[in-house]
Amino acid sequence: MTRAILAGLTEFALTALVIGLVILAVLVPLALSQPDPLEVLRLFVLGPFGTIRHMGNILEAATPTMMTGLAATIIFRAGMFNLGVEGSFFLGGLAAAATAVLLPLTGLIATPAAILIGALVGSLACIVPGYLRVRFGASEMVNSLVLNFAFLFAGVYFLNYVLRDPNAGALMSYKLPGDFTLDRLLQGTRLHTGVIIAFVACLLGGIWLYGTRSGLNVRIVGWSPGFASHLGLASSKLLMQAQIAGGLIAGMAGAIEVLGLYSRFSWTGLPGHGWTGITVAILARENPFLVIPAALFLAYLQVGGDMLARNLDVPSEIVGLVTAAIMLAVTAAAIFRHPAFLRLIRDIKGKEAGEEQGA
């Protein structure tokens, strides 16, 4: 057991090393063009840990992507490449804002009701392409991709014609009433209780996927439909359940984002946290537990890059380049399947296997 952990740590260390090298490769030339090269590295690498507030920013940025990452993980695990998570996030935020603006709810039920309605409405963007796939066999990838934009424009129409505050200087909803909000956790940051929901959701998601019967069945349906039909599992039902669960989580994420951070709803484009969630899911190798570090890691890069751009004359686009390079490096299987590395892992694990057999 200890050796298995050791082997895992070796893989992790190698991942970290690769990421370090990539960051260096992109940043060093940049740093050298600056008056104080070391400051660039220090700011990017250590800056996000510099103050409580910056660490709060990391958590804040990771909150929505943890949940969309979890949603994408569940959907992908069921073998569907449904990209509706982005649309669900948008619709969830819109529906939560609509609840707050249009429904006369007050007190303790206000926020939960808005989150619930956000989740329900938001889930549509995942359910529709999922259903069209299960029922008609239409490609869920393409349908979800285009329908995300259709939902966006429908949402903007709703915002403009129903929720819009004519006295606001921009296309924005009326102010969300004060009862519809999530408590702030940390002075000086906008960290709110949503981050706790996100953490708990990922942990529950992991327990469900690996620790329950229905999680196992979904993994079987996702990996090998033939085996699932051999076992007599209700594949269509399980598939739809996963799309619904993913959609609900993504919609909830959008609702939490709007209630936690904003006093009005003003998205007129897709906010992008769903796309990031898809990246998070793939980085986390579709493991809900790993979604947490993966989302935190991307958020950390984001905060580090923002600090660079804010404090030095570094263009903010550099963050996009670094993130792209890191995504590729972390998923570059060739590095992790290199004979030398495999031999190392095998040596570490192999001794254990030997020990077990000996015992």
Binding site: G169, L171, G188, L261, R264, T268, D306, A309, R310
Partner: protein, 336 residues
């Protein structure tokens, strides 16, 4: 030296709003030289990043922090409350200053409707005389999105045009994007095809797509925010020749003005001002093609309108505070 920071919650290079603010900072630096240290910081168009950025710069040793747009206003207000010793300028939006709130924030808003009112007079005047007879019989308007700031341009433009030709027709479209130049060009071509002779392009780079359409079809555009004839004067004179003028929103002027007042200690923190034609904060380009194309009668009408607006004799309608139905009614009334 004073340290002045401009936060750009979008990106420079929009050829309009933020570029104009940036120009204001450059002018301040040029005017005051070593007395002032300036910096421009892009904080991106993702609202989640704005509050951290505002908090961070507020911790630093800037004397004056400048930020704009309605979207940023509430965040800026909240941060300003936490840093009472810092001074902030908010442009193109306001805050509820009633009861002494936000004593360290000065807000300035623009009457872009006044500028586009002049644009409307010019457009309708050119339609009467100044453009080739076969160019078309209607005016056009291309907005980036169906949102209040853009519609404020629209209602001023329509009102100005109606002051010249009461039954003027204006074809209205929105690109749904401020960057999709190809889409802007197609919408422009469609408008020109339907008889539009001149279109007002309040859509940033997407609007410039219509300028390319104007070049192809020999029709015209009215630019927005900065002198858009000048953008193409060197690189593509054929486009530049189709830009009759541009409606200006001189954020730069308002910022320089605010800084002058700040230096004199007269900037009214804790309150909001609205600047328009009178302050030179909005207007239209009156050089270049305008010179050549506009008839004396039109020029006179524009000069007259300027005077009347400044004197308060003419009140230009505004889209702020209008609900969607009211705006629809205006659009429907002028549809060709």
């Amino acid at each position: 030296a004073d340290k002045v920071l401009l936060l750009v919650n979008g990106a420079l290079g929009d050829k309009s709003f933020f570029d104009s603010a940036n120009k204001g900072i450059e002018e301040i630096k040029a005017k005051y030289g070593d007395e002032v240290e300036t910096k421009v910081l892009e904080i991106g168009d993702d609202p989640t990043g704005w509050e951290p950025a505002l908090l961070e710069v507020s911790e630093q040793d800037w004397d004056l922090i400048i930020g704009g747009t309605f979207s940023l206003s509430e965040t800026l207000g909240a941060v300003a409350e936490q840093y009472p010793d810092k001074k902030y300028i908010l442009f193109d939006a306001s805050l509820p200053f009633e009861g002494g709130a936000y004593p360290n924030v000065y807000a300035v808003q623009y009457k872009q409707n006044e500028g586009s009112y002049l644009g409307g007079i010019l457009a309708a005047g050119l339609l009467k005389s100044g453009l080739p007879a076969d160019a078309g019989t209607a005016l056009g308007f291309l907005g980036g999105m169906d949102i209040p700031v853009i519609n404020d341009f629209l209602v001023g433009y329509i009102a100005g045009a109606q002051s010249v030709t009461p039954d003027v027709k204006v074809s209205v479209a929105y690109a749904g994007s401020f960057t999709d130049a190809a889409k802007g060009k197609e919408l422009g071509l469609a408008q020109y095809r339907s008889g539009v002779a001149l279109g007002f392009i309040a859509a940033s780079q997407a609007g410039l797509g219509q300028a390319a359409a104007a070049k192809e079809t020999g029709k015209f555009v009215l630019g927005v925010d900065s002198d858009q004839e000048a953008i193409f004067a060197e690189s593509d004179p054929a486009i530049a020749s189709q830009v009759v003028s541009s409606v200006l929103k001189n954020v730069d002027v308002s910022l320089v003005r605010a800084y002058d007042l700040y230096k004199e200690g007269k900037l009214p923190f804790g309150s909001a001002e609205t600047v328009g034609l009178a302050e030179g904060a909005v207007g239209i380009v009156e050089t270049g093609n305008y010179e050549k194309l506009a008839s004396a009668e039109t020029k006179a009408a524009i000069a007259d309108a300027k005077a009347k607006i400044a004197a308060g004799e003419v009140v230009v309608p505004t889209a702020f505070g209008m609900d969607t139905a009211a705006i629809n009614a205006i659009r429907d009334a002028v549809r060709p």
